[in-house]
Symmetry: C2
Subunit: 385 residues, 2 copies
DNA sequence: GCCATTTACTTTTGCGGCGGAAGAATCCAC
DNA sequence: GTGGATTCTTCCGCCGCAAAAGTAAATGGC
């Protein structure tokens, strides 16, 4: 509550130390000196104000106490993860999912509420109410992040969100005036990508790609530790990635596009069209695993499409890691072999194997992503990515 | 001749000034201060030793003298392009192409010689002879760059070059001991990419892609101003980029791969297989333009493949610019419309249009690319990319 | 048990490089 | 010619770093 909008004016050196400790766990001064290429003296100088301000703390000793080396033991520094709380919200068509996280972006509480109206003021009211409820249990709130599917500008205004039927809604301002807290609004995929870049699968990588599969396809490219923004972000993304020109035609997607082959609604549509019966995504995966012909065919084709997609990304972007996330990556568990085989035939035999991580994410993970944006703003002291 | 292996020990600030002027033409101190985000005072300090050492020079006035603004006129600084010469060689199966360039990488002389043997020592002899001949007319030689198709390690050793039948040939050392000059050896595509990044189409961009079409397919990715190296570089690249699984099968390529659809040998093969007659690449392009059915069909399919390839690169890498280079980009002049149309259907309508530049390159352009490596080493003072 | 050794951190000192402010240079406008 | 505009230079002060020396806290050998 006492917190300002951001940490005390941090110098560039102090900020780099703070981020390194925040992202890469407890680190001794010597280790920090090595990583940041600074002298030991500089580390004493830089860490002192950070410790005095209560941001960092000296923790007993890392990991195995048995692992005792000669010489004076190192003194790991860590962020005081509980010193601040952050709120993250993910707004879907009919629900608002909320989480409280620590400075480390660990989720300490969840709280969801149905969304009964899309009126911007009512949505802001609901978010403010949820904030008040969550604040009661988790004080020291430093900021709020909100993830929305659709186009978001300046990290504050929802330029266009088809499923909410919003255009030019200044959501950050609406929530700020109700809560008095700094609010960051961002596209949900972008938020998830930032979260994974700072605290997840993308930590420490220079070239990193996130591909999400769910109601739609999401793509995030991180180069040099920064996410690359692009114009068509989350506005029917992947509908023009034609993977198989002879693939199935689906209502919204082009024929054989990534959207028509991989997204949950379109996989359900294909199975419904073929069998005449409606199934959930999970049911379809189970049926395919059990060898049911039509679902197996659809899932098999989806697996091939995913393999091709990952191969293309790996071939052209040369990322050090690719993260598959979203609600639809359960596909991997059923069609993993097809994905792998397809991937291999579309890669050069001498090419480095693709470092592919899969992470089924639920809506709270998306909300956590939004909370990370609030963390970034606090640490970096600005709204810029 | 007096030159050491690199410029006087340049401080980081001085080096950034030198590179900025070298790459972006004559610039005034004020302009440099703006670009490098430095104070005017710093620019006086940084430029003084560079001018005194003869590296930079104050040039009269840029461009239009009529364009006179108020106030003290700016004093553009430029590199003394002729102060040093650089040699670039491109080694092909049966020829060695050589160029002399200025510090700005402008070609001031060309000199080619047939290659009658692939024995490494004889090749080094030939390069040394050509160096001697070229040095007679162009003294002040500061370094030599050599481009070779194949795998090159440490910018000095040819690890594997199928067409020369070389393995682990320390070409840089062989030429260095014959000429006494610093020698850089690099994969030819990599050299071309570096050249375009510093002095060509990629100048000033953060994300930049080079795609070459010729005897094979070459791919270069530049991120943050630096080329990204990768394992499968120039060892049958593009054979596993399957663009059309129903495409033609060709001797070396997989079915429907970028290699089988786009490279000059494979286009000639397809036409020969279809018509029974052998044509040069240029003849095939002319026949296709004239409406001859079989060549037109092959070229049309190549155009579609190129459009898809460029779209995939644009979709996944989000480059600010893509350069098409190589001997085979004449394709664009005949199949430009097909390429454009295909590109458009594989791109999101809201996506920024692809900035696509085409540049037919001959072997001297490849040699120039190699010379740029020698320039980089002189300026940066190291072998590192 | 004591001291050498090792490793981690702190303190002190000095200096390079930068920004900021003031001044000099050189043009245009009237 | 005077004033304003713009570029560049000079000078000063300071921030931030490295280097080096000193302190702290552990282990290991005897």
């Amino acid at each position: 509550m006492t917190a300002g909008a951001s940490w005390l004016p941090l110098s560039a050196g102090e900020r780099s130390v703070a981020i390194e400790v925040l992202v890469h766990g407890p680190l001794s001064r010597t280790e920090l000196a090595r990583r940041l290429d600074l002298s030991p003296g500089s580390l004493t100088r830089l860490t002192k104000p950070l410790i005095e301000s209560g941001l960092l703390i000296e923790v007993p000793e890392a990991g195995s106490p048995a692992e005792a080396r000669q010489g004076r033991p190192s003194q790991p520094l860590d962020v005081v993860a509980e010193s601040r709380s952050f709120l993250g919200f993910k707004i879907t068509e009919d629900m608002v999912y909320g989480v409280v996280t620590t400075l480390r972006s660990d989720i300490v509480a969840r709280h969801d509420r149905p969304l009964t109206t899309h009126d911007p003021d009512r949505v802001a009211d609901l978010v403010a109410e949820m904030t008040a409820e969550l604040t009661r249990l988790h004080p020291r709130l430093a900021g709020i992040g909100i993830g929305v599917g659709g186009l978001v500008r300046d990290r504050s205004v929802v330029g266009e969100s088809p499923f909410l039927n919003w255009r030019e809604v200044p959501l950050a301002a609406l929530v700020e005036e109700r809560t008095g807290l700094p609010v960051i609004v961002e596209n949900d995929v972008a938020a998830l990508v930032e979260a994974e870049t700072w605290f997840g699968a993308g930590r420490g990588y220079d070239r990193f790609v996130v591909l999400t599969i769910g109601a739609g396809i999401g793509y995030g490219l991180v180069l040099g530790g920064k996410r690359v923004p692009y114009a068509e972000e989350d506005r029917g993304f992947g509908r023009h990635w034609i993977i198989n020109p002879n693939g199935p035609l689906t209502p919204e997607g082009e024929r054989g596009s990534a959207v028509s082959l991989l997204t949950i609604p379109n996989i359900r549509y294909q199975v419904r069209a073929a069998t005449g019966r409606d199934h959930t995504y999970e049911e379809i995966l189970a049926l395919a695993a059990a060898g049911e012909p039509m679902p197996a065919r659809v899932i098999d084709e989806a697996g091939r499409a995913l393999g091709i997609l990952v191969a293309q990304i790996a071939n052209f972007v040369l990322p050090q890691k690719i993260l598959l996330a979203g609600e639809g990556v359960g596909l991997i568990e059923v069609a993993g072999k097809v994905v792998d085989d397809t991937l291999r035939t579309h890669r050069h035999p001498l090419a480095a194997p693709v470092d592919l991580e899969t992470k089924v994410s639920d809506f709270h993970d998306w909300a956590r992503g939004a909370a990370v944006l609030a963390i970034q703003v606090l640490v970096l002291g600005s709204v810029e990515a």
